[in-house]
């Protein structure tokens, strides 16, 4: 995993998109992993009775997708400080593929810390299904890593 420095971050820079195909298997593994056992996320009949078209991805899975994309961008010394605007506009159902994308909006310094704000969103079938939100991260400063 490449370490990105705050000095390298630029507004308009895009994150590498990540795709997450949603099978029943993946949603069942997810329920066991993040402990959200609400049946709407792993039981088609139950989900349909609740008004959804199918079982659908839970919140922590969708948030984890953003975190993975952000970690890929910021490297091991980056820190995730905040996620805002994480709005789930529509269901991300089994049989669909969620694609996470991001774009650097701005960066600033507060003392010895270098902050970067990144617009994040998830797409599904060409529609934005989560976001757009804003993630705030910190990255190491070049001056702090110089020998």
């Amino acid at each position: 995993m490449t370490q990105r420095l705050w000095d390298q971050a630029q507004a308009g820079e895009t994150l590498d998109p990540l795709s997450f195909p949603l099978s029943v298997y993946r949603l069942v593994v997810t329920a066991g992993a993040n402990r959200d056992f609400n049946s709407i996320h792993h039981n088609s009949e139950y989900a349909k009775a609740s008004g959804a078209p199918e079982m659908y991805a839970n919140t922590l899975l969708l948030q984890g997708m953003w975190e993975r994309a952000l970690r890929n961008y910021m490297g091991l010394d980056g820190q995730l400080r905040r996620i805002a605007g994480f709005r789930m506009n529509s269901f991300n159902c089994v049989g669909e593929t969620v694609v996470v994308k991001g774009e650097v909006v701005r960066k600033w310094r507060e003392g010895d810390e270098g902050f970067v704000e990144i617009k994040m969103w998830s797409e599904n079938g060409g529609r934005m299904t989560v976001g757009p939100g804003l993630a705030t991260i910190t990255l190491p400063l070049a001056e702090a890593t110089a020998p």
């Binding site: 995993m1 997450f20 993946r26 949603l27 593994v29 997810t30 066991g32 992993a33 993040n34 402990r35 959200d36 056992f37 609400n38 049946s39 709407i40 039981n43 009949e45 139950y46 009775a49 609740s50 008004g51 959804a52 919140t59 922590l60 899975l61 948030q63 984890g64 997708m65 953003w66 975190e67 993975r68 970690r71 091991l76 010394d77 820190q79 995730l80 400080r81 905040r82 996620i83 805002a84 605007g85 994480f86 709005r87 789930m88």
Partner: protein, 189 residues
Amino acid sequence: MAGDDAWKADWAAVVAQIGEDFSDGAVHYGVDRVERGAIRRYLEPLEFDCPLHYDPEVAAAHGHAGVTAPYTATVTFAMGPVWAPGESVFTSAERDAQPARVSVKPRMPRGAPPTTGYFATDMEVEFVRPVLEGERVGRRGNRLIACQPKETRVGRGAFLTFEGEMVDERGEVVVRSRHTLFVYNPHQA
């Protein structure tokens, strides 16, 4: 309020409680400490290959006292058990039967109309620090911030926004969050 919107009056008691904290003030800790195996399982459905979360040497080299959980996993480690000794929760063989006690469900304000469905719609989370293997985290506070009755394509209910925090064993905040749920009764098929 008249006509088709009359049902919104059923939520007036909840609207009147905006600003109240519906928790008991105590910290409710997750059933287990943050375990490396549980962190590993959190990574699996995400295919999240970050050694901070599974390699203690890498975590130490990057300034952490141990393997860290992903930031977004903190809430998982603050959850209660599905079953506890002495309980019987799986009491029905009906296909879609729910356990007698559900481990994850909204804590509703007093006087809320009965609803059968819910899902999260919005999250805003501030991560103060990642939690480490071996730590214990719990939930504290559950303040109602907003209540907006609404009919959507899935049913009739209300958007409820709560805020709370997650703390470590010293009571220090590791996560602050606001989340919005849509609690509702589905439209009849």
